[in-house]
């Protein structure tokens, strides 16, 4: 669409800007403010410069939380993206079945995040949970409060359960926008199932997949409530992800300076990865417009 250059459009933006600025800029500046100061009480504070940042970057607990976070985000992305595409391909396209499957698949997305934790807590408990009990009956010593492997496995399965629907629905909507004529042409050419997927469906999916990967990366990087309810970050600190380390530091220990510095580092990492993605989307759209 060729847009008109008109700065009066700012008037349409203003109400939104006022609201978002109130809930984004003021708090963010508070964080920046804390991150460069050492606050003793309301009247005593010292300027510390980059001291907190250096301290946080060298803090071994945070480094390990960061590594865990990256490992977790990559693992869930590697499982959810192919699985989501697969499910989208399997979903029926019309009739009451399409609606029913759509509603069922969407279901996990609409459950409050801590309830997701509770559901899996109940489901995996050894005494009252179907999965925990079932695995024990099969002879596997399943215990998420003691075994790191079990805790990690359960959190990943939980996240797959919770968020694969997002990728599946994104891909499903991408697939629905492919005209039937493309498939007819492929049938005439006797294209194999794989060729149809590779050359017709996948190219149409790239756009939604970029959005999906971006959203999934962001949300998995901010994960808090589900592991907090399910494992409480344990056993030990093996499932303590960044958000939880941060809240423990900020609310639990009241270390304003270091936690503010940590917040900013945390935010910047997400921002950096997202910026790479954003430019990728923009370039893709530019290519498309250039090609059309």
């Amino acid at each position: 669409m060729n847009k008109v250059y008109d700065n009066k459009a700012w008037l349409l933006i203003l109400p939104m800007l006022a609201l978002v600025a109130f809930s984004a800029i003021i708090p963010l500046m508070t964080v920046v403010n804390y991150s460069v100061q050492d606050v003793f009480d309301a009247n005593t504070r010292f300027f510390t410069g980059t001291e907190w940042f250096v301290q946080m970057l060298n803090d071994p607990t945070l480094q390990s939380a960061l590594l865990r976070q990256f490992a977790f985000s990559l693992t869930v992305l590697c499982i959810q993206v192919p699985l989501g595409i697969g499910i989208a391909l399997l979903m029926p396209k019309k009739g009451w079945q399409a609606s029913a499957v759509l509603i069922l698949v969407t279901l996990p997305l609409l459950i409050p995040w801590n309830v997701v934790g509770s559901i899996w807590q109940i489901f995996t408990r050894g005494d009252i949970g179907l999965m925990g009990w079932g695995l024990r009956e099969l002879g596997y010593e399943y215990n998420i409060t003691r075994s790191t492997v079990d805790a990690w496995g359960t959190i990943i399965i939980m996240d797959v359960w919770h968020w694969t629907p997002l990728i599946a629905l994104l891909c499903y909507s991408g697939l629905r926008s492919i005209p039937e004529a493309y498939y007819q042409a492929a049938r005439i050419d006797r294209a194999s199932r794989w060729a149809v997927f590779r050359y017709i469906q996948l190219p149409k999916l790239t756009n939604v997949l970029v959005i999906g990967v971006l959203l999934r990366f962001m949300h998995s990087f901010m994960i808090y409530a589900e592991p907090f309810v399910l494992t409480g970050g344990g056993p030990g600190s093996s499932t303590t992800f960044l958000s939880q380390s941060l809240t423990t530091m900020a609310i639990g220990q009241q270390d304003l300076g270091p936690s503010a510095a940590f917040s900013l580092i945390y935010f910047l990492i997400i921002l950096l990865v997202s910026w790479v993605f954003y430019t990728a989307i923009m370039n893709m759209q530019k290519d498309k417009e250039g090609g059309a």
Binding site: L19, G174, R176, N207
Partner: protein, 297 residues
């Protein structure tokens, strides 16, 4: 070319026989086509099993839950639901949650509609940077804003009110709404705006009378997403409230830690948090496929 249309009866019969054979071969291939359904069924089973278990538990008494594993409630009971609907902290939790979610949806959509229109129709100084800045808010981890929000809303006297949570959720919901709406609005041809202006419509009248009805389904889908992200968020909602506006999610966590866990009530409360979601997704089920592409497939 002469083969393309049968001319003699014999030829017609021959064609019919071939066609028949082909059809029969197709019907023999049915088991192969059942496999996708089987796989999808397995996935749906995986989705539903934990939810089934939650529901199963919500209808059992606590003694039955702890007494042993039963796949189906032996003594079907509604005591946990009764407890939720008669205890004020429990049912007010739902009322509070729904109140701030609705407030947030109204605020977000009202300010996002004109903003999204501006982004989809005009170039202006700093538009690209502004759009990117908006998206960065979508990426801000709630944990980062926890403490400053607490202090900010405490200072302006909004702590423990519904509007505080509604405003806090605007942080990620307004950018999301603009992102989705912008996609839908860009698919409406610009000629419609121009024609309306030539016909003498003023901008506000055009926007409300013509433009909004045209992107109805887009607005519906946006509202669905706004509901979804405000309904599921817990960290900010529970930090900004204590008693008057406590969301159901934090009622659940606070009750479950006190003197042993009341599994039955926890399960029943969980089931009740799923219901509004089902209701909302049912309303938008026909538009959701397009909506998830955020208007840009």
């Amino acid at each position: 070319m002469s083969q393309s249309k049968p001319t003699t009866p014999a030829e017609v019969r021959q064609r019919a026989a071939i066609e028949d054979k082909r059809k029969r071969r197709k019907s023999r291939a049915v088991p192969g086509r059942l496999r996708p359904k089987l796989l999808l069924g397995l996935y749906l089973l995986f989705v539903l099993l934990p939810i089934y278990w939650l529901m199963n538990m919500s209808f059992q008494s606590n003694t039955e839950i702890l007494g042993g594993l039963t796949l189906w409630p032996d003594n079907f009971t509604l005591e946990h639901y009764a407890k939720i609907f008669t205890t004020e902290t429990w049912y007010m939790g739902y009322v509070n949650s729904i109140t701030y979610v609705v407030m947030n949806m109204v605020i977000s959509i009202l300010v996002a509609l004109p903003a999204a229109y501006a982004f989809s129709r005009y170039h202006f100084i700093g538009d690209k940077h502004l759009f990117f800045w908006l998206l960065t808010n979508l990426m801000a981890p709630p944990a980062v804003f926890l403490l400053p929000y607490f202090q900010l809303y405490y200072t302006v006297g909004l702590f423990d009110t519904h509007i505080a949570v509604a405003l806090a959720h605007c942080l990620f919901n307004i950018p999301l709404a603009i992102w989705i709406l912008e996609g839908f609005m860009s698919s409406v041809p610009k000629e419609i705006d121009e024609t309306a202006f030539i016909d003498g419509y003023s901008f506000p009248r055009f926007f409300v009378r013509i433009f909004i009805p045209m992107i109805r389904s887009g607005i519906g889908v946006t509202l669905f997403f706004l509901f979804m992200f405000s309904w599921v968020e817990l960290l900010l909602a529970s930090t900004l409230t204590s008693t008057n506006a406590q969301p159901i999610a934090s009622v659940m966590t606070s009750t479950s830690t006190a003197s042993g866990i009341d599994w039955g009530t926890l399960a029943a409360a969980g089931v009740l948090t799923i219901l509004p979601g089902i209701l909302v997704v049912y309303f938008v089920r026909n538009h959701i496929a397009k909506g998830f592409a955020l208007g840009r497939t």
